[in-house]
Amino acid sequence: MIRRTQTSELDVNELRETIREVLGREAGSDRTRHAMSHPVGHDTKLWEVISELGWTGIAIPEEYGGAGTSLVELGVVVQELGRCLAPCAFVPSVVFFGGALLVAGTSDQRAKLLPRIASGDLLASVALVGTAGRCEPGGLGIEIEDRGAELSLRGTASYVPDADVAELILVAGRTREGDLALVVVETGLDSVEITPQPLFDPTRRFSRLDLHDVVVPREAMLDPTDSGARLHESLIDLGAIATACDSVGGAGQVFESTLKYMKERHQFGRPVASFQALKHRCADMMMRVEGSAVSAARALEAFAGEYADARVAISEAKFFTAESYTHVAQEGVQMHGGVGFTWEYDCHLYLKRAMLNQALLGDSRWHRDRAANALLGEPAQA
């Protein structure tokens, strides 16, 4: 299980400062825009820096070559990457794939793959979503056939993040018996087809994954003794948390840059930031930004500590942070005025990311219903 260690708020703040300082040098608008226009969205130069500094292994136990800290530190990395819209496959590789192995990898899978994740050598992803974009098990489009020592996978998954650079993809599918299972698939196989699915958010790359009778050894399945449905839920939890952290980081950045612009921009002979009508909206934005930060922190603690109401905390964090991010990014565009509508200014990149985050891995309604079921019990059938 992912470990929970006691980390003081002070250490976390120090870590945040360090990461922000590094990304201030190594990432940022220019690099993101460079990656946007590049055929490959993943910035290998940035990835080298991230790997060398050990961020890829921050939450991986020391026995697998990681730093062995908690999910809280990992959350800080994801937030900071979200702040600068860093173009790299960190979340799919480290949070999803690494997290899945920690939750349910066999000892062999962990020993073989976790050190490679920790060192940054392995780029990987997960396919949890069917073609309709729904993330509940019923929406999956991959069929898994049990052939004894081997498994055969057929069908389509959509919206697979950074599949174009991933060496391995963890695929969620259903067996003939209707059970849910998660299987590691190598993307180098001829029977694996990856087709880009460009989204309005130009800073991220998603692909469709078609599996044409992909045959893998049985050992490629995640811990078969555990329930696949439970694993799938855990992965959605991890993804929701990562999305929440990304939203917190992005909202913080777009808020700060909007404030900065409003203090510099003069109209009617004074800074735009001095108008009370706008100041009050900024105070409200701050409430959303602060609320998002504690909401994501609650979700991180809940996942790591396995609280009884962990699912409530995680789903609430997903919709609250993504909706807050959207609100703040919308205000960002509006308060920048005309330049907020240009391609040159970054406001639109954050707005697009925020809208994507709302839709990713269960939209806000879906997560409200998920939280409601965990909090209030399932509704009676009509």
């Binding site: 100041k279 105070a283 609650r298 603690e301 905390a313 219903d369």
Partner: protein
Amino acid sequence: MLAELEAHSEFRGEVRAWCKEHVPTNWMHRMSGASVEESLAFQREWLAVLREGDLAAPHWSAEWTGRDYSLLEQVVIAEEMARAGAPRLGVYFISLFHTYGTLVHSGTEEQRRRHLPAILDDGEIWCQGFSEPSAGSDLASLRTRAERQGDVYVVNGQKVWSTYAMHARYCLLLARTDPDAPKHRGISYFLLDLETRGVEIRPILDLTHRQEFCELFLTNVEIPAECLVGEENQGWRIANSTLSTERSLILLMPVEQLRVAFEMLVDLAHNVPGPGGKPAIQDVGVRRDLVDLHAEIANLRLLVNRMLSQLLHSGGDGPESSIIKLYYSEVLQKFTKYCTELGGLKAQELAPWLGAAPYVSGVWELDFLNSYTWTISAGTNEIQRNIISEHALGMPREPR
């Protein structure tokens, strides 16, 4: 923070056991429709019980209470009191928080010795004399005048919105001592004995048809010079800077109470019909609304704890207390309004006031109406937004 809270399970057990033994059962029934006098007597009794258990003022230092509590212990006490459904000491609100904060930070030793024990031991009630008819949001433009004449200050003027002044013995008073100085620099802070000649108190009927807040008319009222707090003309600074921690500690109980209140809302949703006649809790829209409110309450609680520990570490008069006040009051208003709406016509039936009740009492419409005491008093939420944008976000003031 959550982990640290868990570590206090032994202490929590003690507080819970105390509550089980001492929180009066069925007090809500007794206080339903209670007169002001009955409610007052009941709060006085409850304060004495709390005092006996060293729980009357967990945020006060051991010098006055015999026991120091860490912030985490204070949180635990607030949680347990809220869960146990303890009565609220509304009438001691100013005494326990504002008077204490002001005297500890800016009072003299003599002032502290005279007044602090009397609050806990004798239940002495304080009120606040800040606002005036022409000085609400623009408090610093207050006109009540205090003139030094020998050993006394002679005070003339009018105050308004002084909650429970008619029951109070003392008043925290702001008055102008230097009319020629810039408006923030000519105000002084006084401790006024309301039994002094020249003080007239008139209650005002509020929109819930109760008399809680009052007007004060001050005519040649003599305040002894030793009742000045801090230095002359430093009143504005004292009123603003020494109270932010106390203002936030005030919210520990109400915020915890919101979590209890959420359970009341769930009960309500089980018991009122939703669309199609099924219980509202089965309705997808209602369920989503409940999750929204739940998320806000959870965020608020974490925010309060985080900002309180920041305040306690750095002291300071940062914008934290404004953020917490704004967040709490808006969640409270949204929550009580939602409950009232969900309650339908049933919730429109006139119901008696509950004396000493928490801010969410279950008399939904009254709770909703009363939520305006949080969004308007102690600096309207619009003023809080000004403070946040100027002090936390560094946005320039509007030209005045």
